[in-house]
Symmetry: none
Subunit: 192 residues, 4 copies
């Protein structure tokens, strides 16, 4: 048991190190040896947990993505106020972007780069199923524009990624007021 526990911790340390190093240096400047060092582990040990570098990054990606989804929809229950539901999800996403900045940044880099195997990248935005459901309802009820999900996502959700990046580069800061305005912009863009 303690044995297993230790294993899990080691694996986590590796995943964390991967995120941190890839975030700071990019995939191409992150050698396995550095990952090992940061995780306080021998390079050889990595290969007990992952097949190779690609596999390590792929799995890291999938895990972070899953944490993202869990965080965003944790406790979410669709009500019959669609706008409020959307707002709740939107704000959770914003919160994740802000509080789990390094996870968010890692996802962003993987999503916009060929460092992840096509197979691992999963199909686009499927992981946001509850949101897609919401939009489906919204379209049926004529509350939301009849646009492909990707377009809705592009306008109402993806901007948060962009702004997170801009914030990380000190080009811009979220204030309470801007947050409210930004949400309004998101809603305006997709509402009918």
């Amino acid at each position: 048991m303690a044995r297993l526990q230790k294993s899990i911790e080691k694996r986590n340390a590796l995943v964390q190190a991967t995120i941190e190093l890839v975030n700071n240096n990019g995939f191409h400047a992150t050698p396995m040896s550095k990952i090992a060092k940061m995780a306080c582990v021998s390079p050889a040990t990595i290969y007990l947990y992952f097949e190779n570098k690609q596999d390590l990054v792929n799995q890291t990606y999938l895990e972070v993505k899953s944490q993202y989804t869990n965080f965003v929809f944790d406790g979410f229950k669709a009500s019959n106020n669609l706008k409020q539901d959307f707002e709740a999800i939107w704000k959770r996403i914003l919160q994740f972007n802000t509080e789990e900045c390094s996870y968010s940044f890692f996802l962003h880099q993987c999503n916009n780069t060929p460092i992840i195997d096509e197979p691992s990248r999963e199909k686009g935005i499927k992981h946001l199923q509850p949101l897609l459901d919401l939009w489906k309802r919204g379209k049926e009820d004529k509350l939301i524009k009849s646009l492909p999900d990707h377009v809705l996502y592009a306008y109402s959700i993806n901007p948060l990624s962009f702004l997170m990046m801009a914030q990380k580069q000190n080009q811009f800061y979220f204030t309470e007021e801007i947050t409210e305005e930004a949400f309004k912009a998101a809603w305006d863009s997709i509402k009918l």
Copy 2:
């Protein structure tokens, strides 16, 4: 003269090869030797035109960015119909994303990755100055939300990048109709 001409062509071939290869494989999986081969040039020749790999990518980035700007604002003259002006610019950007797909994709990758030197990335969205001017006017005239430029950009322009990526991955396609709706979404998100 023919000499100079040939030099320019060689340089261009290198820039083109860089774009193509980085687009397909990412920076880290694009060796100089491959770039050289694709440009029909010896690896050593690259170093006559560029200081090193980083410099090659930086310069390529700056050149593509400049082509983007030129394309987008070519012939643009601010009228006194703000929405129409915005629409013109927006559609030019969309057109660039569609027609110069590989340039657009390259820019996207550079903008969302630490492969470009900070100094080269520096100017951020400044290169869209005429658009920023337009927004300034719009805010003064109470036609556009009083939000930081980065937020306006995130909602009305950046989605085009995302959609270009999605289209490249066959997850979505622009039709005439969607384009009009998408523009409406862009405008809705920023208009007051």
Copy 3:
């Protein structure tokens, strides 16, 4: 233990190979790959023991120099016959030059070339401290000319290096008789 032993042997093999190859071809014509091959080791392995080529040569230099010093002063005890003491040291140096010819040649090349980092070369002739002490006494006792140590060294010790080189190039040979005469010349040059 066997592990450590093997490591030490590998390191030594690298140092030996460096000496041999630099002696025969000079620094600039001694690629790391050849050093590796001669030491029966992969090129990458060199970098487990040394930071880079410069470091390899620097460390080799320091090690050989230290062997030189140890050899020369091994068992030396200053008596109160200064000339005899000097003769003892001088002959040990000659012996080293003759018996450890490749070490001696390597030192010579490093001492007369900018291949060694200044910091590594730094200590100059300080490593011959017992000899410097002897000269100090000799000057105080008016047995030795009151000249800077470097001059004393130039006349009484350095000629041995030159003669070792000449011998290596078959221009000259030490015989028993010449040795005695040569020592006399050394002593004559510095004695008062």
Copy 4:
């Protein structure tokens, strides 16, 4: 004529550049391109005057050596005062070492390194013929120790090279007084 003149100047510039750069960086860190640049000439031009890099260094060596010999024996006429003759030559050599420091340093480096082709290195100290003649006389007249020329050279002349190096490395300085003492040491070492 002016044509020829210009050629000679270009050749000289190349030789000078070679000396300077090899002195400062060593042979292995002196690329042809740098030599060309310092001589204000295209790299290709070097090959009009020299067969290749080795030839350039060889010829430079031979030229400098010849200047050395000319300088040292310029106007020298053997008198019948052997010690005075020796002193004259010795001091000319010292003067060359001091005044033509860079030439002297270059010779030193070539003499103690495998950068010069064996054939070009000529046989040892043959170029000092007048000095060798002097020593011959001295030995016959029982004024000078009956030692091989190389030994005499090692003790009475070579120290000047060593001291020149030491001076260049700021470990020691020639003063008027030391010079006289140093000459005395030289003479003492070889006189009977």
